[in-house]
Amino acid sequence: MSNAIVSIENLVKRYGENLAVDHFSLHVEDGEILGLLGPNGSGKTTTINCLLSLLQYDKGDIQIFGKPMRPDAYDIKSKIGVVMQNVAVIETLNVYENVDFFCGLYIRDKATRKQYVEEALEFTGLSDYKKYKPKKLSGGLLRRLNIACGIAHKPKLVLFDEPTVAVDPQSRNAILEGIRKMNREGATIIYTSHYMEEVEELCSRIVIMDHGKNVANGTSSELKNSLKNRETIRITLPNQSDDILRALKEINHVYEARFENDDVVIRCDGGEHNLVHILSYLSDSHIPFGRVITEQPTLNDVFLEITGKELRD
């Protein structure tokens, strides 16, 4: 793992009796957008706080840029940007001052800082709101300011901790596009969320956390391909009989068929053209059918299969 920007080995964090992070390991390669996905309370934010050396941990080893991460590792910290889950800005300073203040903690040269602040405001679409106080901004703009404060100093590694919570779709899309742009410009991203669609859309690799553990790790396709159920086909059937179910199960790659209300739900474990084969059977057998829906597996299915519960629970 010589190319790893972040390396976490066997991290353990306890709050009294509660085991928040349970022997969690993670490696993030240079240039990746890694999605850390898990339900609320799964240990994502605790892991991020340990990674940033804000939280003491009971066991484990954390290295960033190949060096041990410590509270006083200023050379490492200078290359990290953090976008907190909750908005972390100073209420009495305006938009420009907020970004300038936090950028100034990293960049000392005045001219460079000024340029970076302008770029961060441009990047987050806040150039027209420089003089606004945070309380005058909408929720979406406030989130963008939160991001601008975290990334203005052009960090090599950026940690986004659920940055789109309570954000309108327009701002959400702008935020996600901004993250992609940062990544294209060379930043490595760790993105935690419990929104699986976001993670799936954005991240090149995904780690799923539950109860503080790393329960799955891979690209979106790899995770979905690990499922037995690769395709779900739902067809409305006015005439239902056990003979139909038996016949459907005879079709190659169909491993489950059952009736749900007016529909028959068919699950396939792979293969290609499953829908064509099923519709051919119905047509050839003169079995009338109505609406046809095919569903590809989601990360929620992955999570459901691994943990036995919904990701959104």
Partner: protein, 387 residues
């Protein structure tokens, strides 16, 4: 880094409306209320505050060779009550018995009385404060002089004449106990008010720390993720808080002195010095609270309660409470920053730069240093068991 954090913290804090309200406006409003309440009493007939009516009762034995002559102590009292001198400290009444003196005391004809017998000089003064201090100090100084002369008479009788000349020409004892110009017991309330205003600085520093510590706010988390030395940043923030509180106090002092036209009875430079030191005490106390407490409600309630308790015990509501504490629990007055600051203002106002004044300044310095050292040790940690 230090300069930028200082300037931004200054900007951040000065824009907080509650700081403008509580640290700048509230002391001014309270001072105005005090001035409306007893402003005239301060200005009325200053001579009443210069001169203490005291009684004297002699119970010296009749067989004493000097019984027909006034005692040496009585002569000192007569000297102090001599109205031909500029410094008239006492208005002296002599009584034949202690019962008569007690009667006079009960009718407020006198503020206290001395009873001299063959053993000692006993001072009876019911009220605490400037009157009791002065009456007791007179006896103390008299005894010191008497003892000095007796020692010289025994050990070096040849130097007796020179010693008498030296001691009788030394008038510093009298001038030290002059009440100064236009001083009034009611000024005590304004001194306690300035102490209270200074201790309000503790809110400023807890607000400042909240934005710098990861276990206190989201901003604190962001701050501690940055590659800067935390204690340097906190020092810059503390200095910014001190500047704001010192400015608030200076505004209050100038308002009392020049707008309300209440003479605080001391050079304005000294008063600003004391209130600035007091501001530093308040800020350092806030740092200590901020280093111990995490709960945002406690971070408001504790400094508020502390400031109110300390200023109440230094005479904000009842002027004589500080003297009562001095009588029953003097140590509390030494560690109560409000009382120490009030005492420093009181001494500079009534006596000038006495030893006690410098001791008060020193105590304030010690309180500041202790608070900053303890809070620095606690705040220097950069990661937490939980946030």
């Amino acid at each position: 880094m230090f300069g930028r954090i200082f300037l931004y913290k200054l900007k951040e804090l000065i824009r907080m409306k509650w700081i403008i309200g509580w640290n700048f406006l509230f002391p001014i409003v309270l001072a105005t209320a005090f001035a409306l309440g007893f402003g005239n009493l301060i200005d009325d007939d200053p001579i009443d505050f210069h001169t203490i009516p005291v009684g004297y009762v002699s119970e010296l034995s009749a067989g004493d060779a000097d019984a027909s002559e006034p005692s040496a102590f009585l002569q000192v009292l007569e000297e102090l009550s001599d109205d031909t001198d500029d410094t008239t400290v006492l208005q002296l009444y002599t009584y034949a018995s202690e019962a008569e003196a007690k009667d006079a005391l009960s009718t407020d004809e006198i503020s206290g009385y001395y009873l001299e017998d063959d053993e000692d000089i006993h001072t009876t003064v019911p009220s605490n404060g400037i009157t009791s201090t002065t009456m007791l100090q007179i006896v103390k100084e008299y005894k010191n002089y008497k003892e000095t002369l007796e020692n010289i008479a025994v050990d070096h009788p040849e130097a007796m004449a020179d010693a008498l000349d030296t001691l009788t020409s030394d008038t510093s004892f009298l001038s030290q106990h002059d009440f100064g110009n236009d001083t009034s017991p009611y000024l005590q309330y304004f001194y306690a008010l300035l102490a209270m205003a200074s201790l309000y600085g503790s809110w400023i520093s807890t607000a400042m720390l909240t934005g710098m510590c990861a276990n206190m706010s989201e901003c604190g988390k962001r701050f501690e993720c940055a590659p800067g030395r935390k204690l340097v940043a906190i020092t810059a923030g503390t200095l910014a808080g001190l500047c704001i509180q010192a400015l608030a106090n200076a505004v209050t002092v100038l308002y009392i002195q020049y707008v309300l036209r209440i003479d605080l009875s001391a050079p304005i430079g000294y008063i600003i010095l004391i209130t600035t030191l007091g501001s530093a005490v308040g800020i350092s106390v806030g740092n200590l609270f901020g280093s111990i407490l995490k709960n945002p409600i406690l971070l408001t309630v504790v400094p508020l309660s502390f400031a109110m308790l300390c200023s109440m015990c230094s005479g904000l509501m009842v002027a004589t409470i500080r003297q009562a504490i001095e009588y029953y629990a003097p140590f509390f007055n030494r560690i109560n920053p409000g009382a120490v600051m009030t005492d420093a203002l009181y001494h500079i106002g009534y006596y000038g730069t006495t030893r006690t004044f410098y001791i008060d300044l020193m105590i304030m310095g010690i309180i500041i240093i202790l608070n900053l050292v303890i809070s620095g040790v606690l705040l220097r940690r950069r990661n937490y068991a939980s946030i």
